[in-house]
């Protein structure tokens, strides 16, 4: 990696002002560093300054009350995975967090970092391949090898968003608190992520001088069943070939409302309105759950090597729906 200076953050104001006073990419934020360090070592990013966020007070805790959860952006993935309230009432989130990487990475990787992590695409991660995401002309996955790439929303960059936590948060209707030089703003986690058709270089709408500080999750209704399914080649560590975050409000075997968000199949966490429509108001059974899967992937556009992901995604959605009633 290139030499950089290292600044311990003292306040959010200081952080946003340092970011505002620099060019894009010159100053970068580091918390757990599990993603950023490998980007630095591979020269994918070459910042001049790193701001260590771990020194910011009060951003690493989880609080819960009757209305929901507040999770600081510096909370580790492990803390989310092991939190009893999250395990019990926000199961999809605990399961998604527990599926991330390895214990070592979960122990240092943070919520904010997990949401803002960069793609794993093997072309993107190779310094010597100047792909579209890095300002080049083409997405190499189109004519190259695309086993792990997007089947939905890819055009023109076929990366997949690697986060497990993001689909879970979206399925739970979570919101993000973001701080910038002009103060705080909130947005739905779902709106935070963006597709390459809107911006091929970024995966989210965070401005260069903004920072994610907190996630707020409304408490699901008591009759909610939520779960996270992640298909991967290897038990751990491995990123999702496809994943499903499902939050189902159930009345017996009838699904009153369904939130179905996919990971590992699109450049952003992918909300499947199609699957949700099929399931909502229905008695969940084999044929409805299969229909939900089929509808979710009907517009899928697989590349040369990832047609299997269409079947896989479809099957995972069916499985998730069936698990809501079993």
């Amino acid at each position: 990696m290139d030499t950089f200076s290292y600044v311990n953050a003292t306040s959010l104001k200081q952080v946003t002002s340092l970011l505002s006073d620099s060019e894009w990419g010159e100053v970068m934020l580091i918390a757990g560093g599990t993603d950023l360090l490998s980007e630095l070592k591979e020269y994918i990013e070459t910042p001049k300054t790193l701001i260590n966020l771990k020194t910011l007070p009060g951003m690493d805790s989880i609080s819960s009350d009757t209305s929901g959860l507040k999770i600081g952006a510096l909370t580790t993935v492990a803390e989310i995975a092991m939190h009893p309230t999250i395990q019990q009432h926000y199961t999809v989130l605990a399961q998604a967090a527990a599926s991330v990487a390895t214990p070592q990475i979960r122990n240092v990787g943070t919520l904010g970092g997990n949401l803002c992590q960069r793609p794993r695409c093997w072309y993107y991660r190779d310094e010597t391949v100047n792909c579209l995401k890095k300002g080049g002309d083409i997405c190499y996955a189109v004519d190259g090898l695309s086993k792990y790439h997007a089947i939905l929303g890819g055009d023109p960059v076929y990366i997949v968003h690697p986060s497990d936590i993001a689909p879970a948060l979206i399925a739970l209707n979570a919101t993000l608190k973001i701080t910038g030089p002009d103060g705080d703003k909130t947005m739905k986690v779902e709106e935070f992520f963006t597709l390459p058709s809107a911006n091929p270089f970024r995966e989210n709408v965070l401005e260069p001088n903004e920072i994610v500080v907190e996630v707020e999750v409304p408490k699901p209704k008591p009759n909610t069943k939520s779960l996270y399914l992640k298909a991967r080649e290897k038990g751990a560590p491995d990123f999702a070939l496809a994943s499903v975050a499902g939050v189902f409000e159930m009345n017996g075997k009838t699904c009153q409302s369904a939130n179905v968000v996919l990971g590992g199949v699109a450049p952003a966490p992918w909300r499947s309105a199609e699957a949700e429509t099929v399931l909502t108001g229905k008695t969940i059974n084999d044929s409805i759950s299969m229909k939900a899967g089929e509808e979710a992937v009907k517009d899928a556009q697989p590349l040369a090597d990832n047609e299997y992901k269409v079947t896989l995604t479809q099957n995972l959605i069916s499985r998730a729906a069936m698990m809501a009633v079993n």
């Binding site: 030499t3 072309y123 090898l145 298909a231 299997y308 079947t311 896989l312 995972l316 499985r319």
Partner: protein
């Protein structure tokens, strides 16, 4: 006649004894080459080609040389030369810190004219493909053809035939410790190298030739090493470079390969593609076999494989050739040619058995002339519960389907000459055993201690074993071909026996008896004809006065034997919704002769099974036809088994005689066929291409449905 004695007489040999270096390894106390730090150490790195094929137009090292902290920059290619694969060496840097060395690499200017490349076998064999090797016509080697019997007549006798294509991709060694060396010169004429190697003396001899030094002026040390699997027999470019940089800078130099370089240039198991047609008679005799196949060893040849394998075929014709590609060269890898051959053969056997309507195990029994394996089939089938398998493949109900399969293997492992060893008994009762072998991970250090301790009535922990060092001048061969134990153990045994004899000669007069009447007990020496006459070990050695006993040994062939058979049974569970294959259990029945240490023998079997499982389900070097690069030269996308993948492994040490036979390689062979056949038995659709990943399973299931 020399012998290891009866099992009932052995106090230590054949028992389960904890690895002597185990505690040091798990606590980090053990020093690997990576851990060697010398006063004034410089750190070296190598700049490598990122492209698959290019001509060097210009190489300018000056900016790197000017970087403060850089001590030397060494060109490893020159203008006009060709680079033929990603990872090929361009230049090396030695600097005060590793970071400076890395920065310096980025200051090296190299102008390359990229050439058309081919990185897949198909592209290499396509019409109009660019020529890769100057010494070949096209990208295929001349085929090797072998014919026995009358194949056409055989097929005319066949009641059933199967025609199929089987493929295994390139697998890399993934040594936990990457290749590397620390080199240090004393003056101009003595070179010491700490090497992560499986051949201490091989590296010494290579370096002595390379630097035109007498062999006794090069010392190579490998106290512990983190895996070799066949890829670490010589110093290679990186070893030569480390020693050269140390010579230029007059400073010790450490040069360890990066994980990426390890994948790209440090060897691999070549790929295999077989188009095979085979026939069997109605009563289950394999009668005809016709195979055309090839593999790529990258820019080198050596992509051979076993075909047919294990089972006897009267009439056979085989034709195989190498395909050159712009990729790093193959090296020997754990049972070279066998696992891939076994995968194809065991798959083929099951396909034939099914056509015959025969139990695949029964079909094997008919065609396997090896008596050991016949007994192993019975034992293994019993252990896995073979009767529980699906009579109709894929007939299980539910989303997760289970199945069972079987596979076979064979190997040599009889050892060879070339080991010298010294066993010393000191007057204070301490014992040393010294030889120039190295512990590639099999536990030879512990095995040596066990043999000596058994001979002397001591505990293995009381024996100071010195291996992994050419300094004492006691050569031993490389650890390859599963030869180490069978090469070393007889020499240690005879050396210890000779030393014991000398010790008896010292003590016999005192006990007023003859040497022949003396025996060793635990910590004592006693008179066989009068057991009341005993003397402790320490009292005895005290009689030596100032003089230690030092004896050497010889490779007594009566103490070792080659040739092992193995069979494995697998039970798997396939998730038909996700395509994920989970191996539930492997029963590995491995013939090995006398296991000096049953515990580390089992560990070797476990390790072989895990490696075989990785090759079956996960591992593949992914070469990109678009960019010419290996896309998974890391441990994120090159997937090796982790704890989640490792099933219950029932390792059965199948002792067939009391002579030492190596067992490092053979247990990785039968795993592939056993798992692949189990997958078929589970889902009723055959995957003929490894690794069996979810994409292939889902695709195959979809095709079956359609």
């Amino acid at each position: 006649m020399a012998s290891w004695g009866e099992a009932s007489q052995s106090r230590l040999i054949g028992k389960r004894i904890t690895r002597l270096s185990g505690k040091d390894k798990v606590t980090g106390k053990a020093k690997y080459t990576y851990d060697i730090n010398r006063p004034g150490l410089l750190y070296a790195r190598i700049l490598r080609s990122e492209v698959a094929h290019a001509v060097v137009l210009e190489l300018d090292l000056s900016r790197a040389e000017e970087l403060p902290g850089v001590h030397a920059v060494l060109p490893l290619t020159e203008a006009g030369r060709k680079l033929r694969y990603q990872g090929q060496e361009i230049a090396a840097v030695a600097a005060e810190t590793d970071d400076i060395a890395k920065d310096a690499l980025r200051l090296i200017y190299v102008d390359l004219e990229e050439q058309p490349f081919v990185v897949t076998e198909a592209d290499a064999m396509a019409e109009g493909a660019p020529q890769i090797r100057d010494d070949w016509q096209g990208n295929r080697s001349n085929p090797g053809i072998n014919e026995q019997g009358d194949v056409d007549a055989g097929f005319s006798e066949a009641a059933v035939t199967v025609e199929a294509t089987y493929h295994t991709p390139v697998q890399t060694h993934v040594c936990l410790e990457t290749h590397g060396h620390v080199a240090e010169w004393r003056g101009e004429d003595f070179l010491t190298v700490w090497a992560s190697t499986q051949a201490v003396f091989g590296v010494r001899n290579d370096l002595s030739r390379r630097f035109e030094l007498p062999a006794n002026q090069v010392r190579v040390i490998t106290e512990h090493m983190g895996g070799g699997f066949g890829s670490k027999f010589g110093p290679g470019v990186e070893g030569h470079t480390a020693a050269q940089l140390a010579k230029i800078t007059k400073r010790p130099v450490k040069l360890m390969l990066t994980r990426k370089a390890e994948h790209l240039v440090a060897g691999n198991r070549p790929s295999m593609t077989q188009h095979v047609k085979a026939g069997a008679t109605k009563d289950g005799r394999l009668i005809a076999y016709d195979m055309k196949g090839y593999g790529t060893g990258g820019i080198s040849s050596g992509a051979g494989f076993q075909a047919p394998y294990v089972y006897h075929v009267e009439n056979q014709r085989t034709e195989r050739f190498n395909v050159a590609t712009n990729a790093g060269n193959q090296r020997a890898m754990r049972a070279p040619g066998h696992p891939q051959g076994a995968f194809a053969m065991d798959s083929l056997m099951d396909e034939l058995a099914e056509k015959l309507g025969m139990n695949p195990l029964e079909f094997r029994r008919i065609n396997d002339s090896n008596e050991v394996r016949q007994a192993q089939y019975t034992l293994g089938a019993q252990e896995i519960g073979w009767h529980r398998r699906n009579n109709v493949p894929g007939s299980g109900t539910g989303i997760k389907k289970r199945g069972m399969g079987v596979g076979s293997g064979q190997w040599g492992g009889g050892g060879g000459r070339g080991t010298q060893a010294r066993v010393t008994i000191n007057p204070d009762g301490t014992v040393e055993a010294v030889t120039g072998t190295q512990d590639i991970g099999t536990g030879i250090r512990t095995a040596i201690a066990i043999i000596v301790a058994e001979e002397f009535g001591l505990e293995p922990t009381e024996i100071a074993v010195q291996i992994g060092d050419s300094g004492p001048g006691l050569p031993s061969g490389g650890s390859g071909g599963s030869q180490t134990t069978a090469s070393v153990a007889p020499v240690i045994k005879t050396a210890a026996a000779a030393a014991k004899q000398k010790l008896f000669e010292t003590v016999a007069p005192l006990l007023q008896t003859t040497v022949d009447d003396l025996r060793i007990g635990k910590g004592t020496i006693y008179v066989a004809s009068d057991r009341t006459q005993t003397i402790t070990w320490k009292q005895t050695t005290g009689l030596l006065g100032m003089e230690s006993i030092t004896e050497s040994g010889n490779w007594d062939q009566e103490l070792r034997q080659g040739g092992v058979a193995g069979t494995q049974f697998a039970e798997v569970e396939v998730d038909t919704q996700t395509g994920h294959v989970k191996v539930l259990k492997i029963v590995a029945v491995q013939d090995c002769g006398l296991a000096i240490n049953r515990l580390t023998t089992e560990s070797q079997i476990n390790g072989g099974v895990i490696m075989g499982l990785g090759q079956t389900l996960l591992e593949e070097r992914i070469m990109d036809p678009l960019t010419g690069r290996m896309l998974n030269a890391n441990l994120e996308d090159y997937k090796v088994p982790g704890t989640y993948e490792i099933p219950e492994i029932k390792s059965i040490v199948f002792d067939t005689h009391r002579k030492v036979t190596g067992v490092g390689e053979p247990p990785c062979i039968p795993t592939l066929g056993a798992i692949a056949n189990a997958v078929y038995n589970a889902i009723g659709v055959r995957i003929r291409e490894l690794p069996i990943t979810p994409d292939k399973v889902l695709t195959a299931l979809a095709q079956k449905k359609a």
